[in-house]
């Protein structure tokens, strides 16, 4: 009797729980912060309390005498290599300090108590230097110089122009000119910063790290250590969040290595929460001057954008965010003439790194609120004006992004229909004139983001090795990092789908650079797309090998066979030809013809680098989203209560329903924080609110209802049609909220977050001043 294996329902689009979730819910997962190695020392950093000062002396003599202290690293006794995007950051500062987080010494000891005591005994003498905190002030001729070799305090500049904005301005019927001040926010990963460094007796380094880019991390770390990149093995234990904060090498990591080398013992260096707030990279703050013109009929004529980025003391990835910011400024909606100029300027503030959304959070806050302002000036409604300027499928942006499946107009239309946007919008404006304390508001914002990787390095690829054991299990060794976002679940699902085996029979190995093939890192919403393609292609290769072997054993040709439910079956009738595990053993133990199923795939997306003028189709696909916020404003207290966010996003194809919704909701929470409550307050270079009490992330009661509508347009280059999705949810909400607040109370806030205090000052400014 033939065994028939029915064709199972596809796994694509199903809610598949994360494979790491069970261990996490029982408290079994060993995060890097939980790790203890034999003879491991505890280490911390002595930081400066000045924002700009010459270091006259560092005296560690008393600190060294503390019982239990094993090693102290200072600039004087450590390697001199530099880190950072422009290699302008010595991990330990010897000549001067440039911002409040600066590292003077690392101390390693047997106990935390001994280390704390020693830190207090390190004496540093300084000579204070003149300070500058504002990027435009720092550009002036008489401004204090932060780095001697960086004239004018200039870090990085980006310039793009297309068409003729001067002529376009003359031809415009209306022109709006606005200034935005975009603030400091920080990641607040729940797992504070932590690293463990350990040398073997060959002098090779194993570093346990929270990094989200393990392969280039070696390249960036090596120059600071005086060892070859090839002698560094990167191990990525589970981490408590990243969100872009771990895309660079930061000083604490080489400092831990210096200490491990000196002590010849493993060293674990970790942050307190206060230190996490002060000494982590921030999102890049930006001052944006923007001018936009339009014809009476609503056709946008030009944009002219000038951005000043407060770089802080050193250059990490924050200074490079214009690369992404520019794509939205120049290419979101049809902008026929456009100029974009940005300057990242050194100051004595803490420095910025990369953060989910990467410049597009700022760009979208500006452009999406400006679109609303201009619609109102033109006497058009926010939907009509946007649809008038939305690109159609197949158009290219001035920077040459090909909008193959541009679903912008669909996103806007669906969002407006699902929410009765226009009726509510009109009613809310009318209601402003009536008495009442509580005002209702509705607002829309849209954006675009790369959704098929982003070619900013020479390669945007991901390597994958897939092997099958004698029992029908697949091990997938992928370069892609799991940092909580759920790529393990996605890869499991894709491989399972191709090989016809249960998800529980797929094992993912991806936390050791000595084993994994190269990947550029978790960033740019790229992992499902790039690593997903690599894993799926590897699975297809494995399948071909298996079916070829099955064909040789049976009288059925390979193209008539399929993998289903752990069997090789005849495609048309599901009759089992052999069990998969039995076939794998037969292949393995076939004497002279022995073969293992062991395939590899290096996937490089079909995209191109920008040229020196920033023209290039950097992503294999782009995605649009339209998010509509409904909220109420208490005009007495300034409190904003979010009711609902309706999110329409062009996602290509849903792979894991739980994963995509989780990425949407989590991104939205961060986006809400950006718009309403989160701000790292920095005064004269000092972080004033380094704790969760005063830095207000979104908590459970503030979370609105979220309704997601996914447009599935099957991106031809994506795995099963999927696009990358996970940054737009963080990018759009802030602007959507700002537009809804305006709809409620008729006041614009070009300086988020829109706190109750700002609302009260705007509505009752005279009374507030009188009371003060």
């Amino acid at each position: 009797m033939d065994q028939i294996v029915e064709k199972p329902e596809t796994l694509i689009g199903k809610p598949i729980p994360k494979p790491d979730a069970p261990d996490k819910v029982v408290g079994k997962t060993t995060y890097i912060n939980d790790m203890v190695l034999p003879r491991m020392l505890i280490a911390k950093i002595k930081r400066t309390d000045r924002v700009h000062a010459k270091i006259l002396s560092v005296d560690i003599s008393e600190a060294e005498k503390v019982p239990g202290i094993v090693a102290i690293a200072t600039a004087e006794n450590s390697p001199k290599g530099l880190i950072g995007v422009l290699k302008d950051n010595p991990p330990l500062k010897g000549d001067k300090v440039r911002c409040i987080r600066d590292e003077i010494a690392g101390v390693a000891g047997e106990t935390e108590e001994a280390v704390d005591e020693a830190l207090n005994l390190i004496k540093v003498e300084y000579e204070d230097l003149p300070t500058v905190f504002d990027p435009e002030e720092a550009l002036k001729d008489d401004a204090p110089l932060i780095h001697d070799n960086k004239p004018g305090n200039l870090s990085l500049t980006f310039d793009f122009d297309h068409g003729d904005i001067k002529k376009a301005e003359k031809d415009s019927d209306i022109v709006l000119e606005e200034k935005y001040e975009l603030h400091y926010v920080t990641h607040t990963c729940m797992g504070p910063g932590c690293v463990i460094a350990d040398f073997d007796t060959h002098g090779k380094l194993t570093i346990y790290t929270q990094t989200q880019y393990p392969y280039n991390y070696k390249m960036d770390l090596a120059p600071a250590l005086d060892i070859p990149a090839g002698d560094i093995r990167v191990i990525q234990p589970p981490v408590g969040g990243a969100f872009g904060s771990k895309l660079d090498v930061y000083p604490f990591e080489p400092i831990a290595v210096y200490l491990a080398k000196k002590a010849r013992r493993p060293v674990k260096l970790f942050f307190s929460r206060e230190e996490e707030f002060i000494a982590s990279p921030t999102r890049q703050p930006a001052r944006v001057y923007i001018k936009q013109g339009a014809k009476k009929d609503g056709t946008i004529t030009f944009r002219d954008v000038n951005v000043y980025l407060n770089n802080g003391g050193y250059t990490s990835w924050g200074a490079t965010i214009p690369a992404v910011m520019m794509r939205t400024m120049t290419g979101h909606f049809r902008i026929p003439n456009v100029e974009f100029h940005s300057k990242a300027v050194y100051t004595n503030n803490p420095f910025a790194g990369s953060f989910r959304g990467y410049g597009n959070v700022q760009a979208t806050y500006v452009t999406a609120t400006l679109m609303d302002k201009m619609a109102e000036e033109l006497g058009m409604n926010p939907i009509e004006f946007r649809l008038k300027n939305a690109q159609k499928p197949g158009e290219r942006t001035p920077q040459n992004s090909l909008l193959k499946t541009a679903a912008l107009a669909d996103c806007i239309k669906i969002g407006a229909e699902k929410t009765d946007f226009l009726e509510k919008h009109t009613a809310n404006v009318a209601a402003r004139e009536k008495p009442g304390r509580i005002r209702q508001g509705i607002g829309i914002a849209t954006s675009i983001h790369n959704a098929g990787g982003a070619k900013i390095h020479k390669s945007d690829g991901c390597g994958t090795i897939l092997t099958m054991d004698d029992y029908g299990r697949a091990t997938v060794i992928t370069g892609a990092s799991e940092i909580g976002q759920g790529i393990d679940a996605v890869i499991t699902q894709l491989v399972s789908e191709e090989l016809g085996i249960p998800t529980s029979d797929v094992i993912i190995a991806n936390n050791d650079s000595a084993i994994g093939p190269w990947d550029v890192g978790v960033h740019a919403s790229r992992t499902t797309f790039i690593a997903g393609n690599a894993a799926r292609n590897a699975a297809v290769k494995a399948k071909h090998q298996i079916l070829a072997a099955a064909a040789r054993q049976s009288n059925v040709s390979a193209d008539q066979l399929d993998l289903r439910g752990g069997h090789v079956v005849q495609k048309d009738n599901g009759v089992s030809v052999t069990k998969l595990d039995r076939l794998l053993r037969a292949m393995h133990f076939a004497g002279d013809d022995a073969e293992l199923v062991m395939v590899s795939e290096y996937y490089e997306p079909p995209s191109e680098l920008e040229d020196k003028n920033h023209v290039g189709d950097i992503s294999a696909a782009y995605s649009h989203g339209a998010y509509i916020t409904e909220l109420e404003v208490d005009t007495l207290t300034g409190g904003v209560k979010l009711h609902k966010m309706t999110c329409v996003q062009d996602v290509g194809k849903v792979i894991n329903k739980l994963g995509i919704e989780g990425q949407m909701e989590g991104g939205i929470a961060q986006g809400i924080g950006y718009g309403l409550s989160e701000e790292l307050i920095i005064e004269e270079g000092i972080v004033k609110n380094p704790n969760f009490r005063d830095y207000k992330v979104v908590t459970a009661p503030e979370m609105p209802e979220i309704e997601c509508h996914f447009i599935e347009d099957d991106e031809e280059t994506g795995p099963f049609g999927a696009k990358g999705i996970s940054e737009l949810p963080c990018i759009i909400p802030g602007a959507s909220i700002a537009n809804a607040v305006y709809n409620a109370i008729g006041v614009r806030f070009d300086n988020p977050p829109i706190t109750p205090e700002k609302i009260v000052r705007a509505l009752h400014g005279d009374k507030v001043e009188a009371a003060e």
């Binding site: 809610p15 994360k18 979370m703």
Partner: protein, 155 residues
Amino acid sequence: MSAKVDIEFTVNGAVRQVSVPADMSALDMLRDQLDLKGAKEACGEGECGACTIIVDDASVCSCLMYAADCDGRTIETIEGVQTVDGLDPIQQAFVDQGAVQCGYCTPGMVMQAKHMLAKNPNPTEGDIQRGLEGNVCRCTGYRKIFDAVAEAARS
């Protein structure tokens, strides 16, 4: 070095006797002396809930409690929630509903949810949101955690 205090208490059903420094937190005692590393220190100031444990019938930020004050008490940590039969319904719901991403807040969330459901077995969505207000999650946006707690309440 502060004075040592000898204490005896029940943790996850087992009686333990330990000697702790007078200024040690319950969290450090659990993690460093008893090797119960499920509870996390994410702020150390009682502001994030990642270290939540249940002491007698109260949910507590263990970073704010002295280890010495555990004397004579009954403590449940995340390691004590799973039974020989498998995951507790709350834990299973967190897995099934996608309520876990990085998972660093998860032990505290599960303990707080367990405590909430013990006090209020049929919570409204508002009850769930208010019940979890002291627990910060930076990954999930909470919606799937609400779903998980509601699912656990139904089962």
